[in-house]
């Protein structure tokens, strides 16, 4: 942060805020915290989300759920593919964000961004296929037509992992592609790629409230989400402290939230993700009807 030379243009810095209900508010608490790059240099003051912000985010996610979950799978797939298109257009910005956050060189940063975009495209394509893979027609022993379909669980709270872009995308896309809405707590240390991603979501036809993004301290905010009675599921991907993870899982039991426990240490976010992160937030509904004349 040295003074610029007289002829050098002073950069216009961005204010990094929360993303709730399609808008970018500051934390209602008025709090921020300093985000530094991997080298310790000042990058920005990010919003330090509060309990109230978390609750507002849940309200926004719940409000968005009926519309998003009843959108056609084709429509959701198109919207998510659109996100990938806008991500692609911002590759350089994300690469710079990732390089600053993770301390990797430009080539590695670009590789991470490309993997994140490809991961997003992979999930986007699942929107109108997961029903066929997860659903079934059931040959019951009687004169009934009987079938099972997957449906989104509802509002999912996600504690994002420390991999600030690829990890984030890998936990966010599987939640929303099937019609869930969510509240994501970004990695505390490196939240800026998440806020930039929120800007992409806000400008690529994702309805407001489908994704709500909080920056700040998961140890402060996640307990409120874990115990919130209008949250249906909890993804602990970014919780490293085993005791905290167990506490959150215990809180989640109050309304029988579906819980995805933290992955093993050293989890490789670049590996083939499988279906697990989608199926964890799907319910199966079985419908019976008699057959007759």
């Amino acid at each position: 942060m040295s003074d610029p030379a007289p002829s050098e243009r002073l950069a216009v810095r961005k204010t990094y805020k929360l993303y709730v209900g399609g808008a970018f508010p500051r934390s209602e608490s008025g709090r921020t915290y300093e985000v530094t790059g991997h080298d310790g240099a000042f990058l920005a003051n990010a919003a330090l989300a509060s309990r109230k912000d978390a609750r507002d985010a849940v309200v926004a996610a719940r409000k968005a759920f009926p519309g998003w979950s009843s959108a056609t799978a084709y429509n959701r797939g198109q919207v998510l593919y659109r996100v990938a298109e806008v991500l692609e257009g911002r590759r350089d910005q994300f690469a710079a964000d990732v390089a600053a956050a993770e301390g990797v060189g430009p080539a590695d940063a670009a590789g991470i961004v490309d993997a994140a975009i490809d991961r997003w495209v992979w999930y986007a394509g699942w929107s109108d296929k997961v029903h066929q893979v997860r659903g079934s027609s059931n040959p019951v022993a009687g004169p009934y037509f009987d079938f099972s379909v997957p449906e989104p669980t509802g509002v999912v709270a996600v504690v994002a992992p420390a991999s600030p872009l690829l990890g984030l995308v890998s936990v966010l896309a599987p939640v929303i592609v099937t019609g869930n809405t969510c509240v994501v707590v970004a990695d505390r240390r490196a939240p800026l790629p998440a806020v930039t991603l929120a800007e992409v979501l806000a400008t690529s036809d994702v309805p407001g409230g489908v994704v709500n993004l909080l920056t700040g301290d998961a140890t402060e905010v996640a307990p409120w989400l874990a115990s919130h009675m209008d949250v249906n599921a909890l993804d602990l991907a970014g919780v490293v402290d085993a005791d905290l993870a167990a506490d959150l899982e215990r809180s989640a039991a109050e309304n029988l939230k579906r819980v995805v426990r933290p992955p093993d240490a050293g989890h490789d976010w670049a590996a083939d993700p499988g279906l697990g992160r989608m199926t964890a937030f799907l319910e199966t509904k079985t419908v019976w009807h008699p057959v007759g004349v």
Partner: protein, 478 residues
Amino acid sequence: MPTFEYAPAPESSAIVDIQPSYGLFIDGEMVDPIDGSRFKTVNPATEEVLSEVAAAGPRDVDRAVTAARAAYQSTWSQLPGRERGKYLFRLARLVQERARELAVLESIDNGKPIRESRDVDLPLVAAHFFYYAGWADKLGYAGVGPDPRPLGVAAQVIPWNFPLLMLAWKIAPALAAGNTVVLKPAETTPLTALAFADICRQADLPPGVANILTGAGETGQALVEHPGVDKVAFTGSTEVGRAIARSVAGSRKKVTLELGGKAANVVFDDAPIDQAVEGIVNGIFFNQGHVCCAGSRLLVQESIADELLDRLKRRLATLRLGDPLDKNTDIGAINSSAQLDRIRELSHAGELEGAERWSPPCDLPDRGWWFPPTVFTGVTQAHRIAREEIFGPVLSVLTFRTPAEALEKANNTPYGLSAGVWTDKGSRILWMAQRLRAGVVWANTFNRFDPTSPFGGYKESGYGREGGRHGLEAYLDV
């Protein structure tokens, strides 16, 4: 119209041989408990003591889990799926061969009518073992992942409402997937599970693959909390389900919970009304209403409410309550005095809160635990009898005017296990089925079950599915 009296038509209980006392089934043998106590199991229709069974203590639980682990490592996980499947086919056949004995035993220990244990429970028990037997050597084709593997030792705790059927729902998929199990039947209905232990003997099932521990809540708690357990499967109340979800927090145990319900049974004005009446009766009075997916909230469109209720009451007056072993009995005994107290307490609350209570003329036997079929009208969504699971033959009737109102009322519950829809209009069935937040939707039918058909809840009715390949996945590491 003349009425005809029914002559008693009791099924003979001579087919069952209940021993005066039972041990625990661990590692292929009936053994006495090390640190457990003993308790009595009672015929709820007569209050007669049937037998004395063991309440497994912590060391018994440890012994059973150790046996299951050893069997998993040395035998069951080494066995080709084809061979596991053949054991399961054997179990299915043995259940069929002994079906009448098991049905009578179930009715004696549980209080359910023989017509139901004979025609519903037992056929489904055999069907479950048959269905999952065939999966044992086809796991890679189940579509759950490229290399599905068993989890290890499954701790399974089941309720008293469908004792042997719940055992089948738990044990059949677990063994097919290659796990070994320790199962605890409900405190008040241990006898058919102990009979199943004898079926395991007849099948030459390798020792330790299936272990049966009788006992009460503490035994179940010790079992699900045992560190040697890889999988927990529970069917029962939401309250206990919550406690289990808390107790496994921070562990790597995979959990499925099938919990309570408060299902809406929605009847539209164009419904086939006679069929709807039968469906309502089946929905709430099947198995004395001791059904987690019972249609305990009847939502009827206002314009047909009077007519429907008249017909329903006429139909209820024909239900026969009494001896569970009588082949003409429709409504058997309430399973325990504790459950009867709960049904009475909630029904009393219904009256206090202003709902109107009605039961058909119905003589209750002098001994045993009984509750007449009961209908509450004028129920609002705020009433406890519209919100809380009664788990008895008590129907709460609410009305609605529009499909949107029906849907909102139906979904206005923390539960989400099942729902019913009655209408002649196909598009309306599908519209409702899409929007009901429940794991099973019965349209123009109710309380249908099949091993191929996934069953389980949304929201606080639990998570995971039983039945179909979804039920298989609950026992696999994918």
